[in-house]
Symmetry: C2
Subunit: 244 residues, 2 copies
């Protein structure tokens, strides 16, 4: 396998995309990330290395390294007993997360507003259509698809901000708020108010006009919704639990 035979002078090699050797650990990590952001794990649920290894059909080795990585991103929590769980939801933590997301994602979208080219704007505009489409056959209540599409929309924008530092931080924030969001989305569906498309449309409009301040404002409104909704719900629940 010589390096010289695979360089740019070879007309064959130019058409071949690098295959990219993904390790088992990477796959486990991605899978756990996906599950976390999608809210497949319950808050306060404890995870065991061997349990996950069995579920993912691998040995314990890739799992323990993936868990360690998720713990450092605060997506999981290491208890003093040395067991690991998905962090529980508290009101303080929710406010903390929302504040950080407003700060950082707001900055990212403001940067992106001045840097997105027309092709990128067309891409996110196209996503609005997908959203309406899914909404049409809404009875299916496909929460997974909803979460995935929402994530794709936001990160298509964030990627355009051009900051290799901010984007991983935003990913970490989504990882941390994943469990909360899922709860909120279910509550949303029950309450019947799923107007995400409206908020996204406002964002696209601002981006097309290169209106950084407007985009930031629209984004804040969008990401705040599940948090304030869930906050109200939790407060109502605790009040009800208190009186009961």
């Amino acid at each position: 396998m010589q390096k010289a035979t695979a360089d740019k002078s070879d007309p064959i090699a130019a058409q071949l995309a690098p295959v990219g050797r993904e390790t088992v650990q990477d796959r486990v990590y991605s899978e756990l990330r996906r599950a976390l952001i999608g809210g497949l794990f319950e808050p306060s649920q404890v995870l065991t290395i061997r349990g996950l290894a069995d579920a993912l059909m691998t040995s314990t080795m890739p799992v323990r390294e993936a868990l360690g990585r998720l713990i450092t991103e605060k997506a999981l929590e290491a208890l003093p007993n040395r067991s690991v769980r998905v962090p529980p939801i508290t009101l303080e933590r929710m406010d903390d997360l929302l504040r950080a997301r407003i700060l950082i994602e707001g900055e990212a979208i403001a940067l992106a507003a001045t840097r997105m080219n027309s092709r990128q704007i067309a891409t996110i505009e196209g996503m609005l259509g997908e959203w309406d489409e899914m909404r049409a056959l809404k009875h299916k209540k496909d929460v997974d698809r909803e979460v995935t599409l929402n994530q794709a929309f936001h990160f298509e924008i964030y990627r355009a901000c051009g900051s290799a530092v901010l984007i991983p931080m935003i990913e970490s924030l989504w990882l941390q708020s994943g469990p909360c969001i899922r709860v909120a989305i279910y509550a949303f569906s029950d309450a019947g108010e799923v107007d995400t498309a409206h908020y996204h449309r406002t964002i696209v409009k601002a981006m097309a006009a290169q209106d950084a301040a407007g985009a930031r404002e629209a984004l804040i409104a969008d990401i705040s919704r599940p948090f304030v909704f869930l906050r109200n719900k939790l407060e109502a629940d605790s009040k009800k639990g208190l009186s009961a």
Copy 2:
């Protein structure tokens, strides 16, 4: 070892501090962190698991997990060859890092400005004294102590912001800018302009007055210095290299 016999009713237990079982992996991780923030590793230097394991006198297992964690925080970089190195310094990355630090650390200090109690302010005020003290016998050029003291000063403030979400992000940012900073500090010393104490004094003043905007501004001035200094240096070097 019963839980019941170790609770608050036992007069003996009240005097005993929990022993806290730190794992080898944690020690390796902390040690590598310290080295990274202190800039003990050169930018672009590649690290090997077995090499570090030998240096740290442990097996490869704790090292590889610590490296994985540092890679997810972007403190280290995983090359496609699967070797890991400390990220190289580029102008784009420096600007990116500085912008993120201004955004997040600025927010943290603004929050802290309204929450620090007089005892905490006295603590950071006391640190100014230590700084002057060190400066007096400056001929020793104790860069390590300088870095440590600077870190202690800043994080004493950040901890007071009360955000469990922002603080780990700031730690990650320090980890990422560690290699840059060290280079800058050496350059500073050569240039003979070490007026960090002045900037810190301004910060303390603003914190004592609960002046959030002033504190943010003073902080930005403080953390920007090494970056602009290093930027000028790098630009001068590349220009010189170009003409040579």
